[in-house]
Symmetry: D2
């Protein structure tokens, strides 16, 4: 497979008004920019306008720094609440993965990376247990075991400080909580805001918190699901990126539900991570636009 | 389409132990009973055994009354907690439908009945608004308008008494709350226990109560759903019969979500009602076995 | 529900090149046009560019005729292969439905229209059998029975001529083959090109032609589906608008498959028809872009 | 997770008649057999009866050999066409996997095995290319590279002979073609009949043969799928075990379709393999019953 051509990804949001599309499109057209993909959305509830554009890097006569500089002037025309970002697909994405003992999401991500389907660098895997060190190292990826002593608040604080340090060393585009079983402290939620993704094994907002499959089994639901969301200080209440479900029935034991749900967790997390890394997810309030 | 052959439907539940299947199967075989469909389940959590059998009526040398009498003796062998029922598909099922203003579930059910897909008698439709009287009568079905005066507790009590009376006159196998917007009082929940089916327009237990699509939109979920459940005194918390979901995205307005969700409500309700009328739904505690 | 605000729908396609979005967006912005929804796509295989824009009618200082006139000049800039259309949602959409004996799709469409979910005029229903006349007339819609004599080629030709005439009298935006069991002659395919929609009861290209559910049952598939497509002279081979599937298993008889599949046919047809009437379906070659 | 308790799996098929369930259930009950799971099906088209029973090994006073011996007498009562099998979950299942270059299905299976979700021995992986040797060996599993010289019929024959020999050495319960790109010769189809499972990357019978995703893209379908089926001498026409689909749209390139479809291939193959190894799949003619 040939490497994908280099692109600049522009995401932009501001209060809606007439002429935004024309302004951005004209700016790009005047510079010779070849738009490969473009999406627009206006939220009628909030009156907020969103767009995402993919431009071929080689169609512009200048580089990403100048593009950002020029775009700063455009963005300023639309008010001080405007939020925008331009990223360069030529810069390789870095990901740090946090795990516990459950293997399925990590295996799945490593498989996608190894086969080239997910074109990122996994900078490190950090586990609060040691079990997943072997497979991580077999993929040539550093594994850090940071134990979280049960019932020891001070020890946990120290462990989180260590995790924070390890993550900071890689400055990743995404911190993936791939069935990491520890609740992040507020200061880490803040530090990783907008780039920490969690996979929760329920169709949120059903079954927040611990052991959602057991909750689902007890309630007798006919579908179980998984939710990929940005981590915020409110447990399992951050902006939802992706969800999916799978059918279960009375014949399914807890173990069956865990297994079936696991298949959904993997794909929901992989989709959410891909979209995040491709700058497809725009957050506004507690909701997402996924282009 | 030829009418389906007449069958006896046997449902049976008791604490699990060795030999139940053999006992029931031998009893039927000894009488020459031709089992057309059979399903078994044991719930490992509760140790409860469930079975449902369809027997060709013409394969037995006696009628349903004698079958029930003989089966009483069998059932007694398995203890006093045994619960069982034998119904005769030769007895036509009767249904009463409760509606408000939303038309889609009623239209869907009437269409299924008119086309012969759902082989039941709709004895009556009762509406707390008059809007759906026209289509009901166009199908040759009696429509009763029972107004529920807003904010008038006494008036509501009287209205429910009237509904109760109307329903009782038909002694239906199912009372279908097809987007009926009134919360049933506990005594009606008790009187209709096990035969009142509600369609709730969310994937329960998410979004209990009023305006679930608005709740879903606000939370930014990526799927909306519907749940068909037995009505109990706990609002939207009865045993779940069937659920399904449909994908929504940031581009969907509340109206879009209502429309998309409506398509799911219709099929979930129709499936749940069919299974209920075919004695496929066995309730144990707050969960269902759907054979 | 308040009536939706009036909008102009612009669909446009031409060979891709730099600056198309800017040109169209600037044209609209210069006229004060408020774009409510916008979608773009470029097909890398054919190099074809597609867009669809919804503009609030009251945001433009001129009417639809002048909009078309002005847009003609814009479109001309992009070459002679450009294809475009501007429609006015203020003009009510007209639909003619062709049926045979199967009732479920017709019931579903009539229910959607009656409840206001599908905001169109059903100008007429034409049946090659008389069975569905009753329900049609109960909705206040004219029903025409045009018998198709089996095995009589001349009689069929005359019947198709009659259908053609009836349809022409209404000049509908869509001719819906809602399980109409007659194969259209090539001249009707040509006359109704781009506005005749069929619902085929299989997941095409599987099971083209007659009795697809029987074919599916014989092959032992684990899902059955339905396909809404534009009618062309090649049987069941026209551009696909929408498809969906539902799970079946070994326990499902042909009758069960017909029933389960029917639920999919209804929603697939309703979605396809809605998208067609909202000018969301752009055809290029034998494929569709659905915005 | 505690190891699952040891069970005997009984699968049985014969022409339907009264009393089969009673005979088998009584036989088991008389021996004290505790039936943990039981399923029955009669195919009305062929008049064939199917059952599968799971019995706790420790509930019987004799071992699997004597169970088979005693059951032989029971089975004989139902005629010479009866087919049955009793397997012991205490005997660990062995699997050989055939691969080419595509990694996703192999990664997925190895991950499931490594995490204990799929409790089998992968005896060997055989590749007609060498690429997947590394990951295989990292899991401690032997990898055999058997090159298939393109356009050299004699060389291919020799390669297949080598594969046959390698497989035979392990006498596996399943030979899994996990995107193996070579068409098996008829004699291998015969030798592996009933235990060679293929994953085909389309919703069969659509898009038989080479490059199904390219075929799907060209046809403009709105869903792509995958099919797990038993391999027979008719290419992609063997009995279907499991299928599933995923939505695609006009924005998806071939690469996107390959990626989305890959997620479906993995789960469909994993489900089919699990069901096969648990003796849940009963083949009759070209169709399967999946209990």
């Amino acid at each position: 497979m040939a490497p994908p051509e280099r692109r600049y990804l522009i995401t932009f949001g501001c209060p809606d008004r007439t002429g935004i599309v024309a302004r951005i499109a004209s700016f790009l057209a005047d510079a010779g920019g070849w738009i490969v993909e473009a999406a627009y959305h206006t939220d009628p509830d909030t009156g907020w306008f969103f767009t995402r554009q993919e431009v071929r890097a080689d169609s512009l006569p200048f580089g990403v720094e100048e593009l950002r500089e020029r775009f700063t002037a455009i963005a300023a025309e639309f008010g001080e609440n405007t939020s925008w970002r331009i990223t360069d697909t030529g810069e390789r994405r870095r990901v740090v993965i946090l795990v516990s003992k459950a293997a399925h999401c990590l295996y799945d991500l490593l498989g996608r990376v190894a086969s080239g389907e997910l074109d990122v660098d996994v900078s490190a895997v950090i586990g609060n247990h040691a079990e997943l060190g072997g497979i991580t190292r077999a993929h040539g990826i550093p594994f850090h075991h940071v134990p979280f002593p049960a019932g020891d608040a001070e020890g946990k604080r120290a462990a989180f400080a260590r995790v924070r340090e390890l993550v900071a060393a890689h400055d990743p585009h995404a911190v993936v909580l791939a069935r990491f079983m520890q609740v992040l402290p507020p200061e880490l939620c803040a530090e990783w805001a907008g780039r920490a993704l969690n996979i929760h094994h329920s169709f949120l907002p059903s079954f927040v918190g611990a052991r959602p499959y057991h909750q689902a089994h007890r309630r007798g639901v006919k579908l179980v699901g998984a939710t990929c969301h940005y981590v915020t200080a409110d447990l399992d209440a951050g902006p939802i990126i992706e969800q999916d479900v799978i059918r279960v029935d009375h014949g399914d034991s807890i173990q069956d539900i865990v297994r079936k749900g696991g298949d959904i967790e993997k794909v929901v997390l992989a989709r959410g991570l891909r979209w995040h890394l491709e700058d497809r997810v725009l957050v506004h309030g507690n909701r997402t636009v996924v282009f």
